[in-house]
Structures are given as structure tokens and as C-alpha cells.
């Protein structure tokens, strides 16, 4: 297997680490992480529906079946509770399973194994066992798949002690966070926005880890702080360029890991800008950004606010089917620009 050649362009060097970087799509980056982990560690294997010859419902496992065989890239029946349960059991018995659930909506079928088993085994059993399992699953709207294939359920998982939850927003993070998730001795839920799979970006060729639990500042600006997760990170960055042309400079902070959440970069940025715009695709009510809002309100950054904290979230409705409706219920670049503009102009 060769990882140096890639059709997307000539390798370059990372300014931070000196590592060789190539342009990869998000799904290629996820696949490369799994391939490198499997090559490095016999305990790592992939299981899920149609991950084998089919290459995964979104093509993410791709050619892993040809490269590693059906034992380690294991097709399963349509049986989410059984699959996740088998991954939990394999993990406690010394393996490092990566389970793919075709749509995050289908984790509902497996919730007992995720919430009552995987999340609690280490604590509840007094540390006697741990569950080094990764559950990868695509979330989000934008594909016309309607209400049962488009949800953003990250707040559910983040609310359960014992689960780590990551939402990689770039190809490099998709690889680096997944590698860290595979290393981690705990259950990690990796939520991949399906609209990101085809986005490209520079990705280190080496198996470089991005640590779990570290937020990152994607853009610096003095007028407001935008906090965004998943696909909203790239929308926020795009909006920030538009705002910049209007003379408004936004910082954009990407939490990357929802649990454990590294709040400090958010709080520092908000203390500096005095304005917070919190963006998620998920419905607003009791969402992750409500937690971010609370953290800001509980911190000294509160005294630096020039305007009330503002959230721009999905509407509190199931995701509808028709393209215009689907777009209307989640934040878009223009609505982000509008909210940011109002927030800055009104204060």
C-alpha cells in the first residue's frame, strides 16, 4: 500500500510539523486513518453494514476490504444493536473495533449498547474492564434523505458520561482525530458530516494524531467570536470572508471534541471580542451550543460581553425533504452573515 502517491496534487510540507501533506478528501482521510491503524495494530478491525465489497454506504471504507480482507473489514447483517454489542464485546476482550453505522439516525437502534453498556462499563465495573471502541457515523442534512436519515444527534451522546464525542470539520482532523479515537481506551463516537465527505484539504501523510479534547481557533478576528461544529465550521469561515469585506472581522472557533469539551479557547476569544455567535446544525433546544452558551455565561467572559450571546441553530423541526425546505431549517452562509452583522451592528 502506498500513501505517498495521490491524484489530487503534489505533496507539500506542513509548516507546523514539517510533515508531508497532500490534498485528500475527507472520506479519503478517514479511510487512510483506518488503513494506517490496521496496518500498525492487528487488534484494529472494521465492522458494519456494507463496509466490505460495497465500500460503505458513503464509500468511506472504499478499498479497505480488498487491502485487509473480509475478516478485518467485516460485513454485518442489518443489525445495529447486534453490531455495536459485538464491538463492545470484542473491545472488552482485547480488540480495537471500529464500527460504522450507516446513518447516525440508526444509532437509535443500538442505543442500549452505546449508552447503557459502552459508556458505563469502565465506571460501573470499578475499572475492571474498558471499552476501546470507535463508532463512526455520518450525520446531518443536505442530501434530501429526510427526517430519518438527516439528524444531528451529537448532544445526546455528549450528554452521556463515559462517551467521548468528536465532530471533525476538516480532512486533516478527520484523519488525526480518528487515529486518536482508535488509540483511546474508551468508547469514542465520531460524527462525520456527510456533506464534508467530498471536501478536500491538506492531510499529513504520516499517521499524525490530533489529540481529543482540544478546541482550535480557525480564524482570528476582533469583532465577534463564532463557535461552530461540523459542517458549520466551513460555512462560518465562508461567512467570515463575506463579513470581512464588510469590515467585520470574526474569530471562528471549532471545538472539534464535544466531550470532553475544551472551553478555554472559546472563553478567551469571547473575552477578547465581546460577542458570541454560536452555530450548530442541530435543533436549538437543549443543543450543544446551549452548553457553550452556559459556559460563557458562567465565566468571566460574561463581563466582557457587549451584546447578549446569540445562537443560530437548526429549527426545532424534523429535517424536511424538499430542497428549499431542507435548506430553510438549518443555518446557511447567508444567514450566518446576517446574524453576525446584526450582532455587531446592534451593539
Amino acid at each position: 500500500m502506498t500513501l505517498t502517491q495521490h491524484p489530487h496534487g503534489a505533496p507539500t510540507e506542513s509548516p507546523q510539523t514539517g510533515a508531508t501533506m497532500r490534498e485528500l478528501t475527507y472520506s479519503e482521510a478517514v479511510r487512510e486513518a483506518m488503513a494506517q491503524a490496521m496496518a500498525d495494530d492487528d487488534r484494529v478491525f472494521v465492522l458494519g453494514e456494507d463496509v466490505g465489497v460495497y465500500g460503505g454506504a458513503f464509500g468511506v471504507t472504499g478499498d479497505l476490504y480488498q487491502r485487509f480482507g473480509g475478516e478485518r473489514v467485516r460485513d454485518t447483517p442489518i443489525s445495529e444493536l447486534g453490531i455495536v454489542g459485538a464491538a463492545v464485546g470484542a473491545a472488552v476482550a482485547g480488540m480495537r473495533p471500529i464500527v460504522e453505522i450507516q446513518f447516525s439516525d440508526f444509532t437509535c437502534q443500538a442505543m442500549d449498547q452505546i449508552v447503557n453498556q459502552a459508556a458505563k462499563i469502565h465506571f460501573m465495573l470499578g475499572g475492571e474492564l474498558s471499552v476501546p471502541m470507535v463508532l463512526r457515523t455520518p450525520l446531518g442534512s443536505g442530501t434530501g434523505a429526510a427526517a430519518q436519515h438527516s439528524q444531528s444527534l451529537e448532544a445526546w451522546f455528549a450528554h452521556v458520561p463515559g462517551l467521548k464525542v468528536v465532530m471533525p470539520a476538516t480532512p486533516a482532523d478527520a484523519k488525526g482525530l480518528l487515529l486518536s479515537a482508535i488509540d483511546d481506551p474508551n468508547p469514542v463516537i465520531v460524527l462525520e458530516h456527510k456533506l464534508l465527505y467530498r471536501q478536500s484539504g491538506p492531510v499529513p501523510e504520516a499517521a499524525e494524531r490530533v489529540p481529543l479534547g482540544q478546541s482550535v481557533v480557525r480564524r482570528e478576528g476582533a469583532d465577534l467570536t463564532i463557535v461552530a461544529t461540523g459542517v458549520m465550521v466551513s460555512r462560518a469561515l465562508e461567512a467570515a470572508e463575506t463579513l470581512s469585506a464588510k469590515g467585520i472581522e470574526a474569530s471562528v472557533v471549532d471545538p472539534r471534541t464535544l466531550s470532553p469539551f475544551d472551553a478555554d479557547p472559546v472563553l478567551e476569544s469571547v473575552a477578547h471580542t465581546g460577542r458570541a455567535l454560536l452555530i450548530q446544525e442541530a435543533p436549538s433546544h437543549v443543543g450543544f451550543m446551549a452548553e457553550v452558551s452556559a459556559r460563557i455565561a458562567e465565566s468571566a467572559a460574561l463581563y466582557r460581553l457587549l451584546a447578549p450571546i446569540r445562537r443560530l441553530c437548526g429549527l426545532d423541526v424534523p429535517i424536511p425533504y424538499a430542497p428549499a425546505l431542507e435548506k430553510a431549517v438549518v443555518p446557511q452562509v447567508d444567514s450566518i452573515v446576517r446574524e453576525a452583522h446584526d450582532l455587531v451592528q446592534g451593539s
Binding site: P77, G94, L129
Partner: protein
Amino acid sequence: MTSETPPRTRPGDDPELAHRTLESMWRIRRFEEAVDDLFARGLMHGTMHLSIGQEGSATGACLRLRQDDAITSTHRGHGHCIAKGASLERMMAELLGKETGYCRGRGGSMHIADTATGNLGANGIVAGGIPIAAGAALAYQMQGLDRVVVSFFGDGATNEGAFHEALNLAAIWSLPVIFVCENNKYGMSFSTEHSIAIAHVAERAAAYGMPGETVDGNDVEAVDQAVSAAVDRARRGDGPTLVEAETYRWKGHSKSDKNLYRTREEIAQWRTRDPIVAFEEAVRSRGTLDDATLQGIRDEAVATIRDAAQAANAAPDARADDILSSVFAEVAR
């Protein structure tokens, strides 16, 4: 299935096996009675699900397992833990909320695991352990080990989706797992007469293409024979088996049970089928163990449980000071 397997010594014919069998069953009985007593006297809190009357299925299924074979257990799991060799003192300490308990007071009665004896954990969710057992068996298969997993569950669990999904996975992948259904007739209060439309849970094995067998769960030798044959089959790589052990719990489902759903006569009738009494009579009549030895085993069980309870009671209470750092396993770096 039995035609594939060579004849196996019955536990009641072999002094060493008979001794181990009785020791396990008496320890379970006395442990459960001690727990019942501590709870009644207000010295133990929470809730618990006692397995008095079911000692034959736990003991028979674990009797010939290797230490490195695994089990998964249930909310009614004290017997499984003991039969697989758990420390009675650490079990008792857990139930008493002590720092020295298996779960450091974080789990209690329904969550005891013991990696040293292959116990992958009891489970508070009905059928929750069955897919986990299949997954552990998958791990052993992928690791090239000849370990097997015995998954205990009750009749109620066989109506959960997890049971069906796990049996199907185990069958299609020929996993080395033995599904042991302890059919004690009631899912809490609901009788199997009403909860399933078939005569025997074991019939469900056919739907997944694996052998299924129903045995008298109060006959520890019958359980041993059926499970041992299934273990051989699993170790050979021939896949899973469903064994149904028909038994009965003498006590209520849990502490809240007023026994409104069954008659005194039914309970009395099952008490006449005590698995321990039956096995003692068998070994005595066959001349395997004499009365003095039998009495010695009984006395030893009483003393062992008493000592375990005393030691556990003297241990320090579970501490809350590091509770936050117990949620996640530490990342090795």
C-alpha cells in the same frame, strides 16, 4: 448433538468433580441467604435479585469451563460469579458499598465483573450481555484462541431484539459462544405461558441454524452434559449452541416482589426439586461421597460466607474523592 460427543464422566460419579459441584452450589445458596438476611436487617441497601433455587444451572454451566473462558451474566448474577470462581469477599464488599468491592461501590449487585476469572460482567439490562458475549467470542476467534464464552440470560431476555441479533451474528460467524437460557418461568411477573407462543425457548435456535437443547436446570449433571457438549462444539470451531435450563427462583424477582402472580403451591412444589438436595442424594446413593464429606462441604460453605461477610463489613467504605476520574480509562501515552 450428543452423538458427536464421547461419553463424559458425570459430576456425581467423580469425587473431585462432585466435591467442586457441591461446594459451588452451597456457596451460592449460602451467599444468597446471607445477602437476603443482611438486606432484611437493613444492613445492605439497593436492590438485589437472588438466585436461590437456580444453583444447578449456574454451577453446571461453569463446572468445566477453563479459567480463561469467559462468561457474561445478568441482574440475577451472583451465582454465575461464584460458579466462575469470583472472590466471595470482594462480591460481598461490593454489595455492602465498600472500596474493596469488585466495582469499588460504583456498580453493586448487578455489575460485578472479574477479569481474573473470565467474568466479563453482570448486566442490569435484560439481554444486554448477549451481544457482548458474541463480540467477545468474535475477539477470541480473531485472536486465534480456543476460548469460549458462556452467556447467561433468562427467559425474559429471549423476547428482546438483542437476543435475536446476537444469536444470528454468532451463527453466521460460527462464534465460540454458548447461550445459556435460565428459564425460571417468569420475566418479573409475566409467565412464559403468556410471553412466548412456543413450548421451549430452545426451539428458537432453529431459526438461527444452531442446535438447541432443553434440559432440567435443577439437574446439575444434565446442565453440565449439555453445556460441555456445546463447549466442545464451540472449541472445535463448529459454532454456537442454545441451551435452555428449566429452573425456578424460590424468592421473588427483587425486593419489591409480593408474589401476586404465582401460588404458594407452585413455589412449594418447586422447592421439592431442590438442585442441591437432588445432587447430594445422587452422590450419596452412588457412593461417590459419604455423609461426613457432604456435611463438611456444607459447614465449609457456611464458614466461608460468614468470613467473607465479616471481612467485607470491616473494609473501608467506597470513596467519592476520585469519582470523576473513574469515568474514563486513562489514555496511555
